[in-house]
Amino acid sequence: MKPDDKDIQWVEEPDLGASGKTYLPLFVEGMTTTIKHLLSPKMTVEFPEERHQIPDPILYRGVHRLNRDEQGRVKCVACFLCATACPAHCIDIVAAESPWPDREKYPASFTIDELRCIFCGMCEEACPVDAIELTSLFDLSGKSREEMVFDKEKLLSIYDRTKDSEPMRSVRMAAEGKPVGGERPAILPETEGPPEIAEKDNLAEPGATP
């Protein structure tokens, strides 16, 4: 593009005028802002002595936790929907047959690379059984990269630590009378209790051969 191109519009600096050249009006304007902030209530806190108050922990997206059911077992059913939804590919699950009669599948291993995570909350949204949730803990730190790959035990321990201060989302929403699972009908209706299960079928003499 040449300087004389007709598409170029040349803009001249506005003339400051006599008062402008003294810089006094701008100085006053700046000082007003400064003094206003000096006198207004403080937004910052003296971390770590003082901790930031999170207005709504339900909306905050901090460290993940894996919820437990009433019997203390991991709630996750290893459906991989969180890992599928995750845009950062930081969730790694190894599924296995569950050792419990009322459940089909459970995660033998569940790891989240917290360094890779971008805390978008998609995993929480994808979870059909409210097993993975983001807490309001924000000050996660570690001494090595390996330490920041949280495994199942670590994620469950975060639940144990935060379950009193931040009850499970489904519990809280039920207490507030909101429909659990938002507008959609819940896919799995029995997330709170053990589902109604017919007795497992067993073949007569499973090992028998014809």
Partner: protein, 546 residues
Amino acid sequence: MPIAIIDGRELEFPAGERLNAIQAAERVGIQVPYYCWHPGLTVAGSCRMCLVEAGTRNAATGEISMMPKLVPGCNTPVRDGVVIVTQSEKVQQARAMVEEDLLLRHPIDCPICDKAGECLLQDYHFKYGQDERRADIRPFTSRRRDVGDVTLFVDRCILCSRCVRFCREISGTSELTVVHRGAHEEIDVAPGFPLHNNLSGNVVDLCPVGALGDKDFLYRQRVWYLKRHQGICTGCATGCSIWVEENQDRIHRLKPRENPQVNQWWICNEGRYSYPHVHNDRRLAQPRRRDTQAVVDLDWTTLPAELLQRLREAGRLAAVLSPYLSVEEAYLLATLVRGVDPEARLILGPVPVIGEDERFPNGFTVSAEKCPNRRGVEEIIARFQSGRITTFDAFPSQLKGGRIGGVWFSGGYKKENWIEDEKVRSLTALKLLVVQDLFPSAVSALATYELPGAAFAERDGSYVNRNDHLQSVRWAVRPPYGVRPEGTLYWEMLGRPGLYNARAVLNELAAEIPYFHVAGGPVPDVGVNLKVNLLAEQPEEIGVRS
């Protein structure tokens, strides 16, 4: 030619061809949904998903008269003047109704169902179902029943009876059956007679929903993570077309790939569950030289030149061409040793034969010969040795007298210690023995050079099955660190430019050996029969039902 009218489009089809409305619609590019119908099985007409409107056109007046009721497409033969309507409101309502009915009792446990992602019920629900659910959601149950080779999730079943018909018609074993009546119908086996036959894995592929689960694949992966590649089963001389499904270079399952000329829609369990050797930790993964004193680890970059040098010094050469090699690799290896020693002996490697051919009622045959490419390798040896094929059993007698100095032994056998010690005793006195194999064995223990080889899913190439049917595939997974496919090594040793190109070698082969002439043209996904010009003389063609 007769003409059928499908959604206003005219379809001409050869007189005498038996088509149903689903197949005819597919030819004009219209998909009719179906659960119970399968091209390889008899018609049940029980799912009612393929309901269409049908009628006839009067040839004289051109007047069209439709039947008042909907008819199942799978059971409606298409004749001259038939009119089929697949997209009318009446048809769409019928489909939505079938979907709603199936979902009344279906547990919506898609998150933990292995079929989710490739489930017809899921797909059709989004495509043809209703947005709103009018019935209550039943608490989902997951009754699980061990019916033998596969796991049955009783409540997920939609009673399409494909698996039952498969056991009756294809495997001929009739283990599975429908028990009870009406809404209580279930798939089951007779007590004490579990589903157990060499084709039983196919019922999992046939199942349109997640009711039949593969015990090997259960909970291993979600299907949307898998990438599928065209492959060929190297388990026996039948050479079934398969899909190799992998995620991050790890094979998670093998599935049959439709090939009317070889395996139709099926594969045997033996082939289906034959992949774990690919990821076995015991595989050779480091090229080594065994000197008199020590074992030296080698580097692939200097290896081709070093091997060539040693081959030249070894004197009279012989090469054992494994029936696990692809035809391209066998040809390159033969060219290689013949290039160094123009009178090198070429020997067909040990051909594993276990038991007898297993034939199923529909013609599907599991071959007793457990290698994929005996025919191809034989033809290549015959070409180089003017028709003389030396088998491995005759090899020791040739080694006597000490005239042969160096042997190149290509393996590719799928297990450890696949050969007995006595059979290789004659190889001990050699000056040079190069062994290329997947696993350590009695031969590799004697080797001067022990080279790791690639498994079936890791290499490019073509295989010729026992009916002279050639199929070409490309690699599906990368070999483990330290392993280089055979073809790549031969290509480098022959000093050819660029990367190993199996297609170029096949073209060369086709030009040089009359047997492979047909493969010089484009090889379709289903492969070509190398004796296509002689087909009339073929006594049998497996897999094709009369």
